[in-house]
């Protein structure tokens, strides 16, 4: 086995382990940490595929920013993993879900087996505009894909405004201290536990 294969196998095992543990964990904080582990292993694979810039963006944006947002929400909701999640779905239902996923996975594998790809060319990494470098990706991003890139900015603006509007309280005039928060909660009409 070459060093490439060793790196790939280790990263793949860590990525799959992190993803599986994320699903298996009951505590959402542990889930987030396992997902970060999986993401970092995936970033290693990105770098191995020559995507240096995107791999670093994965660690900074995903593992750094989005996962912190998840942790922040978990902290805000004060979740400890001991919440009442109701009874698990029945054995037949669960079995059906696994079978559906397995069929889907087998289909994906068949598609992958059917793809005939040319052998990838060797990577040249000692140039400033090499494959996957910041310069090369930015050249594409600011010339060929300028219009989608600008639309992404509009999308981010809409998402920020939307997130603030959705998550704010209904009575914005009240002071944000504890008693005001409690009275707001008390005034909110409780909907039925089951719709």
């Amino acid at each position: 086995m070459t060093i490439d294969a060793v790196i790939f196998v280790i990263s793949a095992v860590v990525a799959i382990f992190g993803a599986a543990m994320m699903i298996a964990q009951r505590n959402p904080v542990a889930s987030v940490l396992y997902l970060i582990l999986s993401l970092i292993a995936q970033a290693v694979i990105y770098v191995q595929l020559g995507a240096l810039f995107v791999g670093i963006m994965l660690v900074i944006v995903y593992a750094g920013a989005i996962m912190v947002l998840f942790l922040f929400v978990i902290m805000l909701l004060n979740l400890r993993g001991s919440e009442e999640l109701g009874k698990p779905s029945g054995r037949v239902s669960r079995f059906t879900k696994y079978v559906i996923t397995l069929l889907f996975f087998v289909e994906l594998i068949f598609v992958i087996r059917g793809v005939a790809l040319p052998p990838a060319p060797e990577l040249v990494t000692n140039q400033p505009d090499a494959f996957g470098s910041v310069k090369a990706v930015s050249m594409l991003l600011f010339t060929k894909y300028l219009y989608p890139f600008q639309l992404t900015g509009v999308l981010m603006l809409i998402a920020v405004v939307g997130a603030v509007v959705i998550a704010r309280r209904e009575h914005p005039g009240e002071l944000p201290d504890d008693t005001a928060a409690e009275s707001t909660l008390a005034e909110t009409p409780k909907e039925g536990t089951k719709a």
Binding site: D4, A51, L58, M156, A167
Partner: protein, 101 residues
């Protein structure tokens, strides 16, 4: 290059399948969101692998855009989770069946 591209694609398929299982079986809405993120990342890995195989960098730009959309989706989705938790005081996905037929 000693590792074939199909190995990377298979890894992406495995991660996507794990994300699908998580979306289907989990009852915690936050873990469900993280499973969706995992599925997006698996698709990103396939894009990167195809970029490498075809020696074009358009896939990198697409991954960049997908990451942006995922960040926006996470922000809005987590805001919705906060609102739902405030109104229903639960994070069990099976309890949010108001629009279920």
């Amino acid at each position: 290059m000693s590792v074939p591209i199909s190995a990377y694609l298979t890894l992406a398929a495995v991660l996507f399948g794990l994300g699908t299982v998580g979306v289907l079986i989990t009852r915690n809405i936050i873990v469900l969101f993280m499973c969706i993120e995992l599925m997006l990342n698996a698709a990103n890995m396939a894009l990167i692998a195809f970029s490498r195989a075809l020696n074009v960098m358009d896939g990198h730009v697409m991954v960049f855009l997908v990451m942006t959309v995922a960040a926006a989706e996470a922000a809005v989705g987590l805001g919705m989770i906060i609102t739902i938790h405030r109104n229903r005081e639960t994070i069990n996905i099976d309890r949010f069946d108001l629009m279920k037929w």
